[in-house]
Symmetry: C2
Subunit: 760 residues, 2 copies
Amino acid sequence: MSILLALSCLALAGPAIAAFPDCTTGPLANNTVCDTSASPVARATALIGLFTLEEKINNTGNTSPGVPRLGLPAYQWWQEALHGVAESPGVIFAETGEYSYATSFPQPILMGAAFDDELINQVATIVSTEARAFNNANRSGLDFWTPNINPFKDPRWGRGQETPGEDPFHLQSYVYNLITGLQGGLDPEYKRIVATCKHYAGYDLENWEGNVRYGFDALISIQDLSEFYTRSFETCARDANVGAFMCSYNAVNGVPSCANSYLLQDILRGHWNWTSDDQWITSDCDAIQNIYEPHYYAPTRELTVADALNAGADLDCGTYYPENLGAAYDEGLFAESTLDRALIRQYASLVKLGYFDPAENQPYRQIGWANVSTPEAEELAYRAAVEGITLIKNDGTLPLSPSIKSLALIGPWANATTQMQGNYYGQPPYLISPLMAAEALNYTVYYSPGPGVDDPTTSSFPAAFAAAQAADAIIYIGGIDTTVEAEAMDRYTLDWPGVQPDFIDQLSQFGKPLVVLQMGGGQVDDSCLLPNTNVNALIWGGYPGQSGGTALMDIIVGNAAPAGRLPTTQYPLDYVYQVAMTDMSLRPSATNPGRTYMWYTGTPIVEFGFGLHYTNFSAELSQPSAPSYDIASLVGACEGVAHLDLCAFESYTVNVTNIGSKVTSDYVALLFVAGEHGPAPIPNKVLAAYDRLHTIAPLSSQQATLNLTLGSLSRVDEYGNRVLYPGEYTLILDVLPQATVSFTLTGEEAYLDYWPQPPA
Amino acid sequence: MSILLALSCLALAGPAIAAFPDCTTGPLANNTVCDTSASPVARATALIGLFTLEEKINNTGNTSPGVPRLGLPAYQWWQEALHGVAESPGVIFAETGEYSYATSFPQPILMGAAFDDELINQVATIVSTEARAFNNANRSGLDFWTPNINPFKDPRWGRGQETPGEDPFHLQSYVYNLITGLQGGLDPEYKRIVATCKHYAGYDLENWEGNVRYGFDALISIQDLSEFYTRSFETCARDANVGAFMCSYNAVNGVPSCANSYLLQDILRGHWNWTSDDQWITSDCDAIQNIYEPHYYAPTRELTVADALNAGADLDCGTYYPENLGAAYDEGLFAESTLDRALIRQYASLVKLGYFDPAENQPYRQIGWANVSTPEAEELAYRAAVEGITLIKNDGTLPLSPSIKSLALIGPWANATTQMQGNYYGQPPYLISPLMAAEALNYTVYYSPGPGVDDPTTSSFPAAFAAAQAADAIIYIGGIDTTVEAEAMDRYTLDWPGVQPDFIDQLSQFGKPLVVLQMGGGQVDDSCLLPNTNVNALIWGGYPGQSGGTALMDIIVGNAAPAGRLPTTQYPLDYVYQVAMTDMSLRPSATNPGRTYMWYTGTPIVEFGFGLHYTNFSAELSQPSAPSYDIASLVGACEGVAHLDLCAFESYTVNVTNIGSKVTSDYVALLFVAGEHGPAPIPNKVLAAYDRLHTIAPLSSQQATLNLTLGSLSRVDEYGNRVLYPGEYTLILDVLPQATVSFTLTGEEAYLDYWPQPPA
């Protein structure tokens, strides 16, 4: 006889499927939580005041059972929406029909390559609209654990694909536009959804040489912490007013992030003033357990949960809080008021989402299936892919000549479908593979998959060679995918995996036009392909989402023009032997060639920000208003500006002319700051502003405006303080520089931000 | 329009499905190949003489197209049968009914733990019988790429599970009995099947810290090569007359194994005289391509295939030979006679298998479905599991008291089915999980899987704790499986993966009998479980095959008595930080604490050869015939013995008494040699003989006979020579020594074997 025990709802990481609270006739109807005229914190406080201690503790995990006796329904806090509403414990797609799909945009790494903030805001608005539709159909909660906004520092990182790239300023600008899109502005009456900035902080290692994220202790200098690892999180908290944070698996300087009061209290809630009563912190899933094992930070399970709760981790994605907070309370390890505060934050957040309010007054409660996967959403998913796709090499073979009538479509991505979604994806309305797109363009297509991404065998070669032999031109679509870069899986090599290098080399000997598409989020070393004159063109395509095949083929044939820019550095193979993945330092040293385009001392295979077009552009940069500026005067003019780093410096105009005669194309204006100012070592250059101009017709011009702030010119000292230093400044327009202008700053250095120092 | 090109049969790694050659009416009927009175080599030579050069080259890959114009059918050389006829390109299981299954024995690592050579011979006989049945039904070829007989040197190795363990003598004895069982004796008129000893040589790394088997260069001293890495292969070639070898992916000392004439010619064919005209070498799959990339050993593809063919790799599992040998021949890089020799070897091998002979005279051609999965085979699969399962700890809780009526069956192996087969498995007749077996024993079973093997989450804890709470006793079945140790995947930690340590610790706090079953091929560090008095018993269960659940539960309840012995050392956690997996040295050094029980200088968690019983045994060892032996006399008495290391020294009798009064049990007699003789460093001890006694009744005795040879006493010098040294010798009976006897050898050292030296 076998008995499968019924699981308590506490234990199940299952879907929400819960009605809204009954504020009309239920036990809560006369409680302040149902009084729409009261403040969110007053309403949440009144609600929590009704809970017994046991009920409070029961509701500290992500699968919150609610309080049945009060008519407070269960709530699942764990929803995902990295690039569209995604499969997760709280999201339930229908098997068919309504709510069986949602728009699936490209992975963030490809959307980052678009360098188009407005695009990101539009995407986020659609994601939150579709999320509301799912919520209204009782198929989702209202808070989503997105974005992943850790900088993509190491090319081996398996989850770098989830981020917009390696540059902190880029991430700040991207995430600001993303969060205001997801939440519906900076301080709306009702939030569209609650977004969650993760993984705070210093998280960019999955599993490398036995170092596993759950127990990894990231040793980070205060300078790097302030200057690099937390910049995007500062924007989330201080500027974009994000509703939630997630503390990460790793420890930072010996203290697990979810028990790290320096991170959660001193920096986040203290320095960044992220103190609204509806802002809460969840742990990454089972990161509370990880404090006990494998961090071995606290000697008992009771101390573990008390450490995390007292440090400010309000919610446990997991079971350690509900299982162990009771015993910890009995041992006097935390105050009940601390538990109350955690719960009040979460329920105040639900108040701000209209959870306790009548549906009829809330516009977002009117959203339904008709608002999901609309033609506009579908077009945006396609456009986001087109905007990100980046042309790395082209000898004129692209766009393909109309004389080419047949294509050999070869490679492990040639018929990609879910592969194009990367990870953290939902059910899409469709997935148009490159093969489907090529057929739709009426080519005669000889399709042969060839070896798989990490396939070491040659058994597929003969069939693929026969396809290559039969066609007018060869399109090879390979690179990497989530079989080699993934959650819990970092890479060990930057080489094209498996037998792809041998295979592509043999394809290049057919004497036919050969276009290589390098897919995936992390870069691979293209140094064998770039000098091979038989490889006629090279495109990086990331994870392009539901319309990925169409976007790629439209660019190949010239129905669309590429203007994406690489959001990460493409390092040479030997980079992985020069620096350990566990080395968190950005600046070069004897055991580190430097990280990111800002600090790397070697020669990249392809530079951060690089991207070719089907036409040529000239770009002129306006001159500074003066050859020299007095620092005291600059700072003195900032009176009334809350944050000095955001105080305006100057605006520059970039006049961009499409000097080609044939192709209409977008152009991304990238402006870097370089020059001798501040403490050594000096970075190579630093991205300070960008803007994407759209559809510049042949022989016509458009203007971009690039706004610099005092922060754009600042550096960070060894204490993490942001400082404006006297010295030489050069602004460099674009990666292959179109223009440079120089000026000086004079006078005494000025502190724009004083960074909180760690406990002694 | 999409065209999926037809694949040439050359390209398909597909099944054989070919009739036997037509020797009656076809074009071959009058060729010597069909003359049963001619020698195999004469017959094969005549056949190859009919091939054109193109036909020869076409038939150099594993998927051999044959020669249609000659009536020579296609033949697939790639069959697997690691522990039963297994899924592979040449094996086709039916979907249902006849030939839809074959007996699935435990993984070799568990069969190794039985230390029962006769068992291995019986298993091998059944595997080859079932293989013949599949061949007669046109569902399999006649050669099988088994065994994997590399020693399991490093506990991290993902494929160690495929081997019998870490000790070279154990492997030699095991593989001799395996191969004579598979092939049907040492030199039968017809071979049952052809076995293939792999992976020659020095292969025991999959993918560790960026070192990948396809490009790894194993730096091995000549001493270690002779003494450790090639011992089992010497037995295959010199003693067991195996039909085929497989050269490995890795290089040895700079030369890829499949292009390594020192390995393939000097040692294998030269020194071991493995020169029958029907003995051939295949590459591991695409190891020929790997010579080009990622070994980068030869600068062109043509030189690559010529290097391998000239070094003696007869067959390419892959496409590089058929694709590139033509161009290599045009460049004059090999002689046609070399190609002929390779093909003659292979086809002479098929002649020895009766491939070209009338079926009616061949007993193996009469084998059919009635000979597959017979009751005897099923019983043997069960017995093989029982014999290997090893009891590591028991406070008397096992066998379970009859007063225990209900069991909580918890853990990621509790309902294991295919998991029990490890890797390289076929379709079994059934898979009896521990859960099914416990139910069959009429327990009330509370089943809850708990966290998965490498699962980092706690969401399954509450349900599992409820199961534990409900039952009289808790059986936890976890450890590792092929999700963490596998082909292409080595481990980084010896810890119990995921949250299992935390989970088991919490299970141990329920105050109930707790039995922990540690499954998987590699060992994990049990140091937290062994001193925990709340963990009452600990069993290692390997991958126990189709009847694994029954075998485990029968031992738990006392229907069977455990007598397995650990075939590998259980190292402590920090072992992986003390020596790199890439370090091939056996002897201790500043960067190596020593490898295997022979050389490890630390304290193992559990020793090689350890295993408890449900009763107690006393064992007496007979005395040496003399206190001292003259080396010259010993060697002088060996006249007529072909190999001095196999020349008899003495036989020892072990008198084993079951001194318990209740339980009938097997007992494995292990005899080690230790003592100061030969060059420093001196190994801790070396296994020299073993035997398993069966079903020793309470208070009764049995005798084992352990035969030592001169080789048992020899050491290997730095040149790889096997030498009998004067000095002190101690024989130690069992791991927890039951008896020791000592003697001396006097006189001058004597060379038993002169090892061929590598090219300068």
